[in-house]
């Protein structure tokens, strides 16, 4: 079920991740003015942080070269995609449809994460979840989420 992924070992992968994130921020923030230390621009602090992160990434990779390779966990695709997918479904649906549909579908979908899948029991559970959330968030705490709504 799981697919091993990553490079060499955990620390190495982590180091590469750090450098990757640092680079992303570097690219995204390339237009930010750095300024001087007296008059710090919006880019000053991010530059410091990003540089430190990149350095740590390099250190992590260097450290990892001393250790044995291997020991990477596999990716549990099913739970991962389902649990991350559920909020995405909710986010897509909620503005067009009400809580009942958006949350109901999302929660029902999330029950797919664990096998064996029991569609009818999960449907019942999501109905309960919708009702409970509506009770607590909309009714008790006054959050203005409509239970039912149609697009348009």
């Amino acid at each position: 079920m799981a697919t091993p992924v990553g490079i060499r070992n955990k620390d190495c992968t982590a180091g590469i991740l750090f450098i990757g994130i640092a680079l992303c921020y570097l690219i995204l923030g390339r237009d930010l003015e750095v300024g001087t230390s007296t008059d710090m621009g919006p880019g000053f602090f991010p530059l410091i942080v990003v540089s430190l992160l990149a350095i740590l990434g390099v250190i992590a990779i260097v450290n990892s070269l001393r250790e044995r390779a291997g020991g990477l966990p596999g990716i549990p695709w099913r739970p991962l995609l389902v649990i991350i997918g559920a909020p995405l479904i909710f986010a897509t649906l909620i503005e067009y449809f009400g809580l009942a549909l958006a949350l109901g579908v999302a929660v029902w979908f999330s029950s797919l994460a664990e096998l064996p899948w029991r569609p009818w029991k999960s449907l019942l559970l999501s109905a309960f979840a919708v009702f409970f959330c509506w009770l607590v968030f909309a009714l008790a705490f006054g959050v203005p989420i409509p239970l039912f709504k149609l697009p348009g």
């Binding site: 230390s37 992590a60 649990i83 909710f90 986010a91």
Partner: protein
């Protein structure tokens, strides 16, 4: 003495009917969710935070605080009854607590946990009431440089106390800061890293990040790890909830020792509840007349860590409230909650909002009282709740996560962030990176930038200002020492020992 007038203000604020109800609700909810497998106090608070946003600030804090130690008590309950600690700080309780349960003394173990926690809570409340005012006075003389150094200290100490690789923990802190930077820069009005999305102009809210990383990621791990097997529950002898006199005598000293240790460790920025419980177990074992009993059902082995972790949880409020520096992720979230309510914690809070400050402190004691009185009789119910099958549990968590995140600002973007950070959280945990520093960096990051900026402005660009001012220099020195110590191989082994014991 001033103490009494302070406590009086506190009592009148905390004992209003609504606040008592919120305290009760918090404690109940906290225990309920803390008892559920796979959900610890950090996650519980993250999940329930959005619920408190619509409440007035004091009530919100009272409820959150109640949730916090309610969740810890719930975690202890599952430790004792099922040997499944709900949270890291309850791991130690399971060592002797579960053994006691197996010997038919579950009731005594639970009662011990509750009573020693209450003793600790009472003493800790007094400590807070005594320490906070002088600390705040000192803090009033803090300038931008001191605040910067203090926050840096907090970040670095939290790194040095986290288990695992120091390098990775530091990187996680930086990552948290980077997440916190996203949004409109307060000083210059420039948008940073927002990818042009207007929903990100105000930055990334920490709540979906917290719920995603501590909640969703945990669900993925639990399912992938084959959660859901049956556990044997020791509910045989729950009737013995009153402790015998000899038991009571035995737990007093350990509770006091645990309280002392926990109070000190809780105040340490970055320090904490987990360390407190482990350290006090170790201390108790060393001090005991009969160390061989530990691990086999020694009542001291339950009393001391429970007292320690409760004391630490309460004193960990001190740096957050008086100085505005959170000492652990839970405090970071509380502080975030305060900020959302428009209250900036710090030394001024005591003079500007005395009812808020003292009301919160008093309600912590009230909450502890409620835990003892109400939760013990309800233990049977908690035991049943703990047996909820995971396949019912996790979709419910997903539901609350989605609605909770959405309810903050009615923005689908927040739910999208929930998913994103759920994914990121999972990846990071699998790569053996600590998540707590991320949350820390996220909340403290923007503040630290602000203080850096101001300090630099004052010193006209001279970075040595942090070393020139004595308090700042001292704080930085402590920070550096703690990092160096944590990176040294000998200390690393001991840390691993403490965490693996």
């Amino acid at each position: 003495m001033e103490l009494f007038s302070h406590l009086a203000i506190g009592f009148s604020a905390a004992l209003s009917l609504t606040n008592v109800l919120y305290c009760f609700a918090g404690v109940l909810l906290g225990t309920l969710i803390g008892v559920l497998p796979g959900i610890g106090p950090t996650m519980t608070i993250a999940l329930l935070l959005p619920v408190t946003f619509s409440l007035p600030p004091l009530s919100a804090l009272i409820m959150l605080a109640g949730i916090f130690y309610g969740a810890q008590y719930g975690g202890s309950t599952t430790s004792i009854l099922i040997n499944l600690p709900g949270e890291t700080s309850s791991v130690v309780t399971a060592l002797d607590g579960y053994q006691m349960a197996r010997q038919g003394r579950a009731g005594a173990a639970l009662a011990t946990a509750a009573i020693s926690s209450f003793i600790a809570g009472t003493i800790a409340t007094l400590i807070i009431a005594l320490l906070a005012p002088p600390l705040a006075k000192v803090a009033l003389s803090f300038g931008a440089a001191e605040y910067f150094s203090l926050m840096l200290l907090g970040l670095l100490v939290s790194v040095s106390l986290s288990s695992g690789s120091t390098i990775k923990a530091m990187a996680m802190t930086l990552l948290g800061i980077l997440i916190g930077i996203v949004g409109t820069d307060v000083t210059s009005g420039v948008e940073r890293f927002t990818l042009g999305l207007s929903d990100l102009y105000d930055g990334i809210n920490f709540v979906p990040v917290a719920i995603g990383m501590f909640g969703l990621a945990e669900i993925i791990r639990n399912i992938a790890g084959g959660e859901g097997g049956s556990r044997s529950i020791q509910t045989k002898n729950l009737s013995g909830l009153m402790l015998s006199l000899s038991d009571l005598k035995r737990i007093i000293a350990p509770s006091l020792r645990g309280t002392a240790l926990g109070s000190i460790l809780g105040i340490l920025p970055g320090g904490g509840v987990v360390l407190a419980s482990f350290a006090s177990y170790g201390l108790e074992k060393n001090v005991s007349n009969d160390p061989s009993q530990f691990g086999k059902g020694a009542i001291e082995g339950v009393a001391a860590p429970e007292a320690a972790n409760n004391a630490a949880s309460q004193t960990s409020f001190i740096p957050m409230l008086t100085l505005g520096v959170p000492s652990n992720p839970v405090m970071a979230m509380m502080m975030g909650a305060l900020l959302i309510h428009g209250i900036a914690p710090g030394p001024r809070i005591m003079t500007e909002q005395p009812a808020l400050f003292w009301g919160l402190i008093v309600s912590m004691w009230v909450g502890n009282l409620m835990l003892v009185i109400l939760n013990l009789p309800l233990v049977g119910m908690w035991a049943k709740v703990a047996q909820v099958p995971y396949r019912v549990l996790f979709p419910s968590i997903v539901a609350i996560s989605c609605v909770g995140s959405y309810s903050i600002g009615m923005k689908p973007m927040d739910v999208f962030m929930l998913a994103t950070f759920g994914l990121l959280g999972y990846v990071l945990v699998e790569l053996e990176c600590e998540l707590a520093p991320v949350l820390f960096g996220l909340i403290v990051g923007p503040m630290i930038e602000e203080y850096l900026r101001r300090a630099m402005l004052l010193s006209q660009g001279d970075p040595t200002i942090f070393l020139q001012r004595p308090i700042s220099a001292a704080l930085l020195a402590i920070a550096v020492i703690s990092i160096v110590l944590s990176a040294l191989p000998k200390i690393r082994k001991r840390r691993a020992e403490i965490f693996c014991d």
